[in-house]
Subunit: 200 residues, 2 copies
């Protein structure tokens, strides 16, 4: 509490952002007010603009500034392959690998019954529509390798028991470049049971 | 780069806030857009309100929503004592001790010749006005115990060589509750040279 309403309000709203605690909310507020005044109207305008323009792609559920996102609109992507991820950040991470050229479906979360996030909280009606499209050949389940991500992948797998669509899960194992002694037990166990024959 | 102008603009503005790197700017933006839409107009309004209402107190230079801040206006404070600090956060920290009841002067920075911050970048004309007020008896220099804070305290001390005003510097030594073996060398040396006779 700084004791000035306009400052305290700013601090308490900043605290509701992920990763920003009370001290850092205060620090950001003071920095804006003392040294970065010019940022304040710019940031306000950017928030209002993004809030007004950004919606969910009707096909893949990712953030978009039109009914369809650029990937869903593109005629250079293979719309017969679908990669299911939890968040827009995961799309960025996979795009950055440069080895995937299919479509995505962005769940915007994962199943987490303990937190009250059941199938209805995810956008599964949109997912059902997407996998019903005629030309789909393959679905890659790329939810996180966490308890919730695995449960989500399992649930989605159950939605896709129909002929002609290959369903796979991304490989789990030791991270490339990592050293075995620093890898956690679960990952190492998964890497052993998931071992693959050496290629010639 | 998410590839949507409204999102990328928001991310790049958030990155200019202190303590927010590229990943956390992205995470905040996605969180707002996916799960916290209602925060976006509220935060925009709070930024515009604070930018419009907050100015510097004409007497102590702290952030204020009127010409004079609440401390400078108060008839319960001892306006004959002045504590000079670097930032509004320092005022909060000293107020939280509950043992100080004088005025403040907030420099909003410190001298740092290497970064091009000379006396003219601080609000020293306002400081000169403040120390010229008739009833001032004592000035406590509470700038940080850093190289820049010490240099600033030294410079301000030089501005106050006039009769009748006691000038002091906050004590530097081992932090209360700390263990000697974990205290850095400079602090420990300062605690030794600044030793005080045991009171009965
Ligand atoms: Zn899309
Ligand atoms: Zn004041």
């Amino acid at each position: 509490m700084f004791g000035i309403a306009a400052v305290d309000e700013l601090v308490s709203l900043l605290r509701r952002l992920p990763g920003i605690g009370p001290r850092s909310a205060q620090r950001i507020s003071f920095e804006l007010l003392v040294r970065k005044r010019e940022l304040m109207p710019l940031l306000a305008a950017a928030l209002l603009r993004a809030n007004g323009e950004i919606r969910h792609c009707q096909r893949c559920n990712n953030l978009a500034d039109a009914d369809l996102c650029a990937i869903c609109r593109s005629d250079r992507r293979d719309h017969g392959v679908l990669c299911v991820v939890e968040s827009p950040a995961d799309v960025l991470a996979i795009e950055a690998t440069g080895i995937y050229n299919g479509d995505y479906f962005v769940l915007m979360g994962h199943l987490s019954p303990l937190d009250g996030i059941g199938p209805e909280a995810l956008h599964l009606e949109r997912f059902a529509e997407r996998i019903a499209l005629a030309d789909l050949r393959e679905v890659i389940l790329a939810t996180n390798p966490t308890v919730e991500g695995e449960a989500t992948a399992h649930f989605l797998g159950g939605m896709m028991r129909r002929e002609g669509v290959a369903v796979s899960r991304i490989a789990r194992g030791v991270p490339v470049g990592g050293e075995l002694e620093y890898v956690d037990r679960g990952t190492l166990g998964r890497a052993l049971t998931g071992r693959r024959a050496l290629e010639d």
